[in-house]
């Protein structure tokens, strides 16, 4: 046999395994819906729904009139008028303001003391009580809004008193804080989208998972691995063909997700929150490139785990546990925000996470960071492929029962 035909034959065996696995799994409805429908589409839809709910709630609170029971409104008509101008609708007094807040009858309750008028006329400080429950997080913005309105009114009145006594209003406030927020519209978005990289990794994972189980644990359970290995094809070629099929399925899954995000990204009312969100083609391309070596790494890890398992069911259990691993960098980064060091980009999963967030923030990923991320994950992927190939050579792998 000449060298040329032998080369064709080698590529042929890998291609044959690849094509057969793809064809066989395209006929499996469960794999198809998992890899191309529920896996990649559920994420974006869920995401959009959650964000829309959150955004609309924030917006509603800011614009809508706030109903607040006011106790003793008649003692401070001037203050109540100021509140009305700020969008507060005073409600009739309640008997027990504490209970009203705890029982969620009201977001907040304002109590004005009976001696308000007398103290005011004497120019003495008066107290206005604001009842709220800080453990009810959804009322936070309402409470803050009400508090600010009262404080602003106080400051305004104070300034007028100073002016009436011939003093400059600034006397009472020698130091003023001027806030300079350096957040860009993109970086504000990042807070909300911190879990986005995890979504992408999970999609990759789910896209290839059924195949990875089916092609090793499944084949062994159905006893087809032994006849397959009786063919004159080196086992590593069979492994490469199978890995290629897994990679194609998970890549397709990721592509569908990115496409879906690009489409639904338009329906996220990010601008209303002063955010800028670019989930378009450039973003999709960057994510795809960053994820490429990760596809191979996950495929071989899944195959490795599935090859260890004695049955399909066992493989499924192990893989659901393995699925928790990609969650770690996302969680760590959202709870312990660290300044990214160069070496972190070379760590698989962490590098992708940092890169995607950076792209989302609008900073772009530098060439060096790209190189570190791709090289680091590729080295890990090749190592995983090597270990899996070693496992594939074991005698026990083919034998079921």
């Amino acid at each position: 046999m000449s060298a040329a035909t032998s080369k064709v034959r080698r590529a042929g065996a890998v291609l044959t395994v690849f094509l057969k696995e793809v064809r066989e799994n395209l006929r499996d409805r469960r794999t198809l819906t998992g890899a191309f429908l529920t896996g990649p589409l559920l994420g974006p839809l869920l995401f959009v729904l959650l964000i829309n709910v959150q955004v609309n709630r924030e917006l509603d609170k800011a614009d809508q009139p706030l109903h607040v029971p006011v106790i003793g409104a008649q003692y401070a008509p001037h203050l109540v008028d100021a509140l009305k101008q700020g969008g507060i609708v005073p409600e009739p007094a309640v008997a027990d303001p504490g209970a009203a807040v705890r029982q969620q009858d009201a977001d907040a309750v304002l109590r004005i003391a009976a001696d308000y008028g007398a103290a005011w006329r004497k120019g003495e400080p008066v107290q206005v009580e604001l009842f709220y429950d800080s453990s009810r997080r959804d009322t936070g913005s309402a409470v803050e809004r009400l508090g600010k309105l009262v404080e602003n009114y106080a400051r305004q009145q104070g300034a007028m008193r100073l002016v009436a006594r011939g003093l400059a209003p600034g006397t009472a406030w020698p130091v003023q804080v001027a806030r300079r927020d350096q957040a860009t519209p993109q970086s504000r978005a990042v807070l909300m989208f911190a879990m986005l990289p995890y979504f992408f990794v999970i999609t990759l994972f789910l896209g290839g998972m059924y195949l990875a189980i089916d092609l090793t644990a499944g084949e062994r359970e159905r006893q087809s691995l032994e006849p397959l290995f009786a063919n004159p094809v080196a086992r590593w070629k069979i492994l490469v063909g199978k890995l290629a099929a897994i990679c194609v399925f998970s890549l397709a899954s990721l592509a569908i997700t990115l496409l879906a995000f690009a489409v639904v990204g338009r329906f996220i009312p990010a601008a209303k929150l002063g955010m800028e969100l670019d989930l378009g083609w450039h973003f999709a391309g960057t994510v795809l490139l960053l994820m490429l070596p990760l596809v191979l790494l996950l495929a071989s890890l899944q195959t490795l785990v599935a090859a260890f398992a004695k049955s399909y069911r066992e493989a499924q259990t192990y893989l659901s546990l393995l699925m928790m691993v990609p969650l770690i960098p996302s969680l760590v980064l959202s709870f312990l925000p660290v300044k990214a060091q160069a070496w972190m980009y070379a760590v698989p999963l962490l590098g992708q996470n940092l890169g995607i967030m950076q792209q989302l923030r609008g900073d772009g990923v530098s060439g060096e960071q790209f190189a570190l991320c791709l090289a680091g994950t590729l080295v890990a992927a090749l190592f995983a492929v090597g270990v899996t190939a070693q496992l594939y050579r074991s005698e026990k792998l083919a034998i079921s029962g």
Partner: protein, 244 residues
Amino acid sequence: MIEVRDLHKAFGSVKAVDGVGFTARDGEITGLLGPNGAGKTTTLRMLYTLMAPDRGQVLVDGIDAAADPLAVRRTLGVLPDARGLYKRLTARENIEYFARLHGLDEATLRSRHEALVDALEMRDILDRRTEGFSQGQRVKTAIARALIHDPRNVILDEPTNGLDVMATRGLRRFMQQLRDEGRCVLFSSHIMQEVAALCDRIVVIAHGRVVADETPDALRAQTGETNLEDAFVKIIGSEEGLAA
């Protein structure tokens, strides 16, 4: 031709195969007979290089299995104990998959495919998915898949297991046809009747060792029994694990 010399294989402390040696010649059907657990399947697995022997040598058409396992597998057609068809593929697709793994070109594939489909009488099931196949249909498909590359040597592990009478008779005819084509046919069985009816040579295995390697007539003469069944029982030393 398949030559086996002094094979040993142990799993932990269990000696599954403990010094098996025999020769299966071209143009003959050689039967590997032994009770369940005698080491037949392990021996065959070492022949088709799924397992490496701890000691001993396997030569197929003069090629050392340890030195060039791929070349050995190329000259072998194997029906393993595990039939393992792909149930989401049709019978035809199952067969073509293995043909391509052997690197057959399309023309060879077609002609070989046609010949096997006729010989195994399986034209009616070709384009059905193998999910839901009967045991007989499964074995036919697995055999066609194993022999698609026209191998000189054929290894069948318990080929008639689970088949009904008609399917068994058909399979026996097919094995005789393979022998008449000049191939070396080696099959294992724990059914004496079947071995007696088919084999030119019988290798009896018990407890991982070869206890007899003769023609059926020589076996009768050696044991002094006219009945093969009694001859086997005498050789093996017990009736356990054998079926009539």
